[in-house]
Structure formats: structure tokens, C-alpha cells
């Protein structure tokens, strides 16, 4: 079902710090939306307000056009999976999954049929008679998924459900959540601080920071066209190389950015955004993947010294010092340069990002 948040505000104790600062958001029917942000950004509070576990100070929440702001959690037809909790310890797996059905006084036969059907969906049908002690962490989180699904909620809420699992399980369950989403066609809202998780799972990513929504977009949009410096820095690992700079426009129309120690030429696509600038101070950025190693010097090329190389598998992450600035550069492992040697970096204008130093907004916004 479609979820709409309208002017949602939630403050905690201290008057000036807002946990959620008047956010507006629409999540479409059947979408898998990911709330992404660092801890304390308000993503979990937002989710808990949708679940009804926190009451907003002001604003309304709608699910399928129905105003649910004042409803008790149990009447909202949502389900939630929590980070640090997955099973009711006094019940076995079967009773855990059946528990939500007892609340609606379903008859025993119907409960049995539903529980087994849902258990099969998340591959725990062979665990039904087990107690909590005989269930691993990953299986317990599957039980939580099954329990969430059993009442066929209109919206699934997931609060970092994978954070407490080890890396391999996390990837495995991530795939399964994605599959579950496709099979059920239900709206999912998933909270995480892990941008890789957000990128792989989300149809739509909502990047949050300090109680505000920074950007809403597809994984590609938030990665390739970050709306502001925060999103550019937060999304992507290793994070984007960013430096303070100042702009210089020649009479010919060519644009340059002066960075600490060197100058680069910018492509013309920045010209439009330039007109909105109040000063010539910018934040310049480029992703580690977008920096190339070249053999012959040319435009936008800078010599550097490799300080450190981290192997990522098929690719290497090199830390290169150029003009006293440290750049992260990701290259194919075969092209890697050993630490202590020099190399030539090429910054491709097509992959550069520019943000107004004052507003931190991207110069590429078309508004």
C-alpha cells in the first residue's frame, strides 16, 4: 500500500534538536524503500512512527489513503522486524509464527495451514518444532520474517534486521528479503546505516541526516547524481574524494576549479549551475572509481606517490598523495601500482561533482 508521511515532526527532550524535522515522503505501493543514514539521523524514529511505537509531535501518516496517525500499533496493519530481537523465548518456532494469528482469533486449522505456508516461504518449515535454543541467529531472523508475514500486512517495516548477523549470512538474507519482496508485492520500508545494503536492496533510497531527508532517488541516482555534499560523501565505499576549491571562469567560457596545490578544468555542464552560485567557493569531488591511471601527461593529470595499497579482490584501493592531498583510487588489480612508486592520476571531468560551499547543494541540480 502507498505510504505517505506529511510534515512529520518528532522532537526529543532538548528543544532545538529535532529527531525528525518536518519530513514529507511518499512511498508507492509495492516499493522497497530504504531509509539510509548515519546513526541518529532519524531513520529509525521515522520507522517507529509509521509502526505507531512513537507518536509524532505533529504531521500525519497515511497508509493507502487511510490516516493512521492516531491508531494503536496493532490496528495499523503493518508488520515490523527488529534489529536486536527476533523470537519470543518462551515459545517454539511454530508458536512464534502463530502468535500474531492468535490476536485475531483465527481458528486452529486455519492457523496451522497459514503457519506452514509462511514457514515454507522463508525455508524454515523443517524447524517448526524447535525451541529457541536450537535455532541459529540467521534462522531466528527468518522466524521473525515469517512472523511478520503471517498476517499479510499492508506494509513491512524492517529496522536494521541484518545488522547483528555475520557478513555471509547478511548477504544471503538480503537476497532473500529481496525475493520475498518480489513474491509478495507488498510495500517494504527498510532501515539501514549500511549503504551497500541500501544500494542492493532498494527500489528507492531515502538518504537522511540530522532529521532531514537529504535525497530521495533510485540507487543509481543517489550514487551518480548526489543532491548535496552529504549524500555524495555518505553513499559509496570508499567514500568520494572531496576537496575545497574556488571557481575561475575565463572569458572564453572555460571553467576551472582551483584546488589546494593544483587546478583542473571543468566540463561545460557545470555552467548552468554556476549562475546560482553566490560565491566562487565550492566543494569539488570525484569517486575513487572514476580516477584513472594514465601513462602520458595531459589535461587534468596530476602526478602522485602511492602510499598504501589495499587489496579488494579483483580490484585494488590505492591511497595516492598528489600535491599534498590524499586520494583514494580504485583500479583493476592488474593495473595496480606498488606502494612507494609514482603514478599519474587523471581526473575525468564527466565524473566530477561540484557543490556550493555555502549550501552544499550540487551544481548539477536542474531547478
Amino acid at each position: 500500500m502507498k505510504v505517505v508521511l506529511k510534515d512529520l515532526v518528532k522532537g526529543f527532550k532538548s528543544a532545538d534538536a529535532f529527531a525528525v524535522n518536518r519530513i514529507n515522503l511518499e512511498i508507492d505501493q509495492g516499493e522497497l524503500a530504504v531509509l539510509l543514514g548515519p546513526s541518529g539521523c532519524g531513520k529509525t524514529t521515522t520507522l517507529r512512527m509509521i509502526a505507531g511505537l512513537e507518536q509524532p509531535d505533529s504531521g500525519r501518516i497515511y497508509i493507502a489513503e487511510r490516516d493512521i496517525t492516531d491508531l494503536a500499533p496493532k490496528d495499523r496493519r503493518v508488520a515490523m522486524v527488529f534489529q536486536n530481537f527476533s523470537m519470543y523465548p518462551t515459545m517454539n518456532v511454530y508458536d512464534n509464527i502463530a502468535f500474531p494469528l492468535h490476536a485475531i482469533k483465527m481458528d486452529r486449522k486455519e492457523i496451522d495451514r497459514t503457519v506452514r505456508e509462511v514457514a515454507r516461504l522463508v525455508n524454515i518449515d523443517q524447524l517448526l518444532e524447535r525451541s529457541l535454543r536450537q535455532v541459529s541467529g540467521g534462522e531466528a531472523q527468518r522466524v521473525a520474517l515469517a512472523r511478520a508475514m503471517v498476517r499479510r500486512p499492508e506494509v513491512f517495516l524492517m529496522d536494521e534486521p541484518l545488522s547483528n548477523l555475520d557478513a555471509k549470512l547478511r548477504v544471503q538474507l538480503r537476497t532473500e528479503i529481496k525475493r520475498l519482496h518480489q513474491d509478495t508485492g507488498t510495500t517494504f520500508i527498510f532501515v539501514t546505516h549500511d549503504q551497500e545494503e541500501a544500494m542492493t536492496l532498494g527500489d528507492k533510497i531515502i538518504v537522511m541526516n540530522r532529521g532531514d531527508i537529504q535525497q530521495v532517488g533510485t540507487p543509481h541516482e543517489v550514487f551518480f547524481t548526489p543532491r548535496n555534499a552529504f549524500v555524495a560523501n555518505f553513499v559509496g565505499t570508499p567514500s568520494m574524494n572531496m576537496l575545497p576549491g574556488s571557481l575561475r571562469v575565463e572569458e572564453t567560457g572555460r571553467i576551472f576549479v582551483a584546488l589546494p596545490g593544483f587546478e583542473l578544468e571543468l566540463p561545460r555542464r557545470f555552467a548552468a549551475g554556476l549562475r546560482r552560485m553566490s560565491s566562487h567557493h565550492v566543494i569539488w569531488g570525484i569517486r575513487p572509481e572514476a580516477i584513472r591511471l594514465v601513462s602520458a601527461p595531459g589535461g587534468n593529470c596530476v602526478p602522485g606517490l602511492v602510499e598504501l595499497v589495499e587489496a579488494l579482490g579483483s580490484r585494488d584501493l590505492m591511497f595516492v598523495r598528489a600535491h599534498d592531498q590524499l586520494f583514494g583510487v580504485i583500479v583493476d588489480a592488474l593495473d595496480s601500482v606498488a606502494a612507494g612508486e609514482t603514478c599519474l592520476l587523471h581526473f575525468d571531468g564527466a565524473h566530477m561533482h561540484l557543490f556550493d560551499a555555502a549550501s552544499e547543494l550540487s551544481l548539477l541540480l536542474d531547478e
Binding site: 509502526a51 519470543y88 523465548p89 518462551t90 502468535f99 490476536a103
Partner: protein, 279 residues
């Protein structure tokens, strides 16, 4: 955990020595309860004799201490039930919600436990007297009066112990149940209380022991209709002599329920007292 044999032997030696130290007087006393009157205080003590139940017969029937037993049971069980009924929800509230003065209230509650009974005993007596004279509500020498008085000591214990158990549980446990179709009360009843059940048992037992053994408040506030077993025990210590056999017979009757309950509930008790420490 593998504990080296030598350390384990040492631990057992210490435990046995402590047990002997504690149990010998209890054993000697309990034996006396079964001795005929002529050998109650013989010196050296007689260890082997034909046991008799005449002391029990005397205290329970002749001196009608079964009435005191009945009073003790009513008052202790009543006190514990009321303390749990009020204290468990209060503890849950303290564990889950912060409100103005919640910390201060908790500290005030623990401070109640530090007050010697005499400090509350006499004011309670005065209050009961005042109530009786002004409203005709008689609480002196009633079971309910004592049950009410004991809440001063039982409620803080229940609230502090149970709050500890509730705090250990992730809030997500109830929240999950609330999203899944239950009210907060429903979640508490169906999910949380079953988990903290060993804690409730341990709390109930400790409270029962307090109420069961309590002597001083009963001495001030109880009368002919409500006097308890510990008070009955006191009647065998008379000015000139102590009726040892009768005294120990009553003592044994006093100890029995606590011992039986402890043995019966020991698994829950260990679980409850080590909640969160052992997995």
C-alpha cells in the same frame, strides 16, 4: 567450565564447613522438638532417643497454635499476592517509561527498605487507632491491617527486583507483539510475564519469607485474632524458663513451608536469582 580438582575440593570443603556451622544449631534444635520433656535440657545433650510428637500436639492443639499457623498463612500469602499485583505492573512502568521524578521515586522506594520496622510500627498503630476512632474502620487486629502494613516493606522489594528483570528484556519484545496485534497489557501478559516468570517466583518467595518471619510489626499491630506463628513462638520464652521442646516444635513448623517451597521451586529460584547472568 573445567575447574581444577584441587580448587573444586577446596570450594567444597569451605561450603561443607559453612553448611555444618549453620546447620548444627538447626539440627540440634529440630531434634529437641521431638524429645520428651524430661530430656529437653539434659546435659550432655541426648542424641539418641525415642522420638515423640507430644510437643507438636501440645503447641498445635492444647495451645491452639494452629490458629497462629492459619493467621500466618493468610497474612503472608495475602501480602505477597497484593505486593505482586501492585508491584509487578509498577516495576514494568518504572522499567519502560521515564517520567518526571521516576528516578527519585525509585530511590525513595529503596529507602523504605532501610527503615527499621519500629519506625513505621508505632505510627501505623497510631494511624489505625485514629482511623478507628474517626471513621469506625477497624484495621487493628485484622489480617488486612497487617497485610497493608507489610506492603511498606514488600512493595519496594517487588518493584526493585522485578524492575531489574524487565530492564534486562529488549523493549522490542513487547513492541513486536504490539505491532502484531496486541495491546501493551496483552503483550505484557502473553510475552513478557512468561519470560520473567522465574523472577516472579523468586520475588514471591523472598517476599513470602519476609512476611512469614516478620515478628515486630505483628507484635504491635496484631491481636488475639491475628497473632502469627513467630508471636506464638515467643510465648514459649517465659520469664523464668524456656520451654525448649515446645519452642523448637513451633520453630520447625515455621521453617517447614520455607524449606519445602525452596526445594520445590529451586530451579525457578536459581534461574530467577541469576537472571541475565547465566545463559
Amino acid at each position: 567450565m573445567a575447574v581444577p580438582v584441587r580448587e573444586r575440593a577446596l570450594a567444597y570443603a569451605i561450603l561443607i564447613a559453612m553448611a555444618v556451622l549453620v546447620l548444627i544449631p538447626v539440627l540440634a534444635g529440630s531434634l529437641t522438638a521431638f524429645k520428651p520433656q524430661i530430656i529437653w535440657i539434659s546435659s550432655p545433650p541426648v542424641w539418641f532417643f525415642q522420638p515423640t510428637l507430644e510437643n507438636f500436639e501440645f503447641v498445635l492443639i492444647t495451645r491452639q497454635n494452629w490458629l497462629h499457623l492459619r493467621n500466618s498463612l493468610i497474612i503472608s500469602i495475602g501480602s505477597v499476592l497484593i505486593a505482586l499485583a501492585l508491584g509487578v505492573p509498577a516495576a514494568y512502568g518504572f522499567a519502560r517509561f521515564r517520567f518526571r521524578g521516576s528516578r527519585g521515586l525509585m530511590q525513595w522506594l529503596i529507602s523504605l527498605r532501610m527503615i527499621p520496622p519500629i519506625v513505621v510500627g508505632l505510627p501505623f498503630y497510631a494511624m489505625f487507632l485514629f482511623l478507628e476512632r474517626s471513621t469506625g474502620l477497624g484495621l487493628r487486629d485484622t489480617h488486612f491491617g497487617l497485610i497493608l502494613t507489610y506492603q511498606t516493606f514488600l512493595l519496594p522489594l517487588v518493584i526493585w527486583m522485578m524492575r531489574g528483570y524487565f530492564v534486562e528484556l529488549p523493549a522490542a519484545m513487547e513492541e513486536s507483539a504490539m505491532v502484531e496485534g496486541y495491546t501493551r497489557i496483552g503483550a505484557l501478559r502473553r510475552v513478557v510475564l512468561p519470560v520473567v516468570w522465574p523472577g516472579i517466583v523468586a520475588t514471591a518467595l523472598l517476599n513470602f519469607i519476609f512476611a512469614w518471619n516478620e515478628f515486630f510489626l505483628a507484635l504491635i499491630l496484631a491481636g488475639n485474632n491475628t497473632s502469627t506463628l513467630p508471636m506464638a513462638a515467643g510465648t514459649y520464652v517465659v520469664r523464668a524458663r524456656v520451654e525448649w521442646g515446645n519452642l523448637f516444635a513451633v520453630n520447625l513448623i515455621i521453617m517447614m513451608p520455607v524449606i519445602v517451597l525452596t526445594i520445590f521451586l529451586r530451579q525457578q529460584l536459581v534461574k530467577g536469582l541469576t537472571f541475565g547472568i547465566l545463559e
